[in-house]
Amino acid sequence: MLLRGDHVVVDDDGVSHPTTRPVSAVCRCGKSASKPWCDGTHKVLPPKLRP
């Protein structure tokens, strides 16, 4: 999921992560090593686990 502009993403532990880019990608598959941001890991998941 892409966020355009300035936003703050609050993760499951209540920690706030402000965006730092013109556009930011938020992890939706739950497997990113850089959560809350997408790191492309969804591409190696079996198709049914991809969001």
Binding site: T20, W37, D39, T41
Partner: protein, 317 residues
């Protein structure tokens, strides 16, 4: 401080001599054929550089010297013809928006990042960083030429992507500057084009194709297809590169350059495809084949570079 490269044959010899003699000596007609692909590639790389940063020992007017433009055009035609000869054409039955990322993912080329991640030696990684620096120290620049050639929607999206490449207003976050800091921290030279004489022909052709796509308005859609494929093959390989650099004890500055690309390019691969390439093709459908051509060229040229470097290290691709 950018110095001219060493010649690799008769044509580069003639062109480098002509460059050094400007502006006192007008350039005489150069009909010399390139002696080899290396000779052609280093000549074209040098002529393209006149449009970027130029060279200390060359007059700035050389960029628009008609005879040098004629040589450049001849070499660009040669490079484009060799790419088109290898290109299998637009893939059958694929929809650009729906199928592009799967098409890229299905491409099964050798991966330098996997090698760096698990088995490369420190010396091999230093080799790789030196030759990659030819591009990374001007990262994103070739695609910037395309901006004024686009309709409104793709233009806004490309500038948004490039803004991120250029550090969102912070020079320290500019990708090429991050790479330069990594090079310095690793004990390597960070000045522009410092290692071009070490670059094999495959690396020069990667750079030349990017510059040709960027500098020729006719090929603007190929520049953007190349961008989409490049971004779509960057995020996870960048994570492997960062982990491989950690494994070998490289300084954090070098790994930071690759870590930055993990998240940045997970975004860019989405916007480069949808907001830039697809949006352009919606407005100018005739450009779709050029998008696929540029994307294919990106993957093909990277395969050739990977084969060349891995073979040089005695590693099976």
């Amino acid at each position: 401080m950018t110095s001219l490269p060493k010649p690799r044959g008769r044509l580069s010899d003639a062109v480098l001599l002509a460059l050094r003699e400007l502006p006192e000596q007008p350039v005489e007609r150069i009909d010399t054929e390139p002696e080899s692909d290396d000779d052609a590639a280093v000549t074209l790389w040098t002529l393209h550089e006149l449009a970027y940063r130029g060279f200390d020992e060359v007059d700035d007017g050389a960029e628009w010297e008609p005879e040098l433009i004629r040589v450049r055009r001849r070499l660009e035609e040669r490079l484009e013809a060799s790419l088109r000869e290898r290109w299998p054409g637009v893939p059958d039955g694929l929809d650009l928006e729906r199928d592009f990322l799967d098409w890229v993912a299905d491409h099964d080329g050798p991966s330098l990042a996997r090698h760096v991640h698990s088995t490369a030696t420190r010396e091999q990684v230093l080799d790789l960083l030196r030759v990659r620096s030819v591009y990374h120290l001007k990262e994103a620049d070739p695609t910037t030429w395309v901006v004024p050639r686009l309709p409104v929607g793709p233009k806004a999206a490309l500038v948004e992507l490039q803004f991120d490449e250029y550090g969102v207003g912070d020079p320290a976050r500019l990708h090429a500057a991050m790479f330069a800091r990594g090079m310095e921290a690793s004990g390597l030279r960070a000045d522009y084009a410092a290692y071009v004489d070490e670059a094999p022909v495959e690396i020069l052709e990667q750079n030349n194709a990017l510059s040709m796509f960027g500098l020729q308005r006719r090929l603007r859609a190929s520049a953007l297809g190349h961008l989409a494929a490049f971004e779509a093959t960057s995020s996870m390989p960048s994570r492997r590169m960062a982990q491989g650099l950690d494994r070998l004890g490289f300084p954090v500055e070098m790994a930071a350059y690759y870590s930055e690309h993990v998240e940045a390019d997970a975004v860019h691969e989405q916007t480069a495809l949808r907001d830039i390439c697809v949006a352009l093709v919606v407005e100018e459908p005739v450009l779709e084949a050029d998008v696929w051509f540029g994307a294919w060229a990106c993957l093909d040229l990277e395969d050739r570079t990977a084969h060349r470097l891995l073979a040089g290290w005695g590693v099976a691709a």
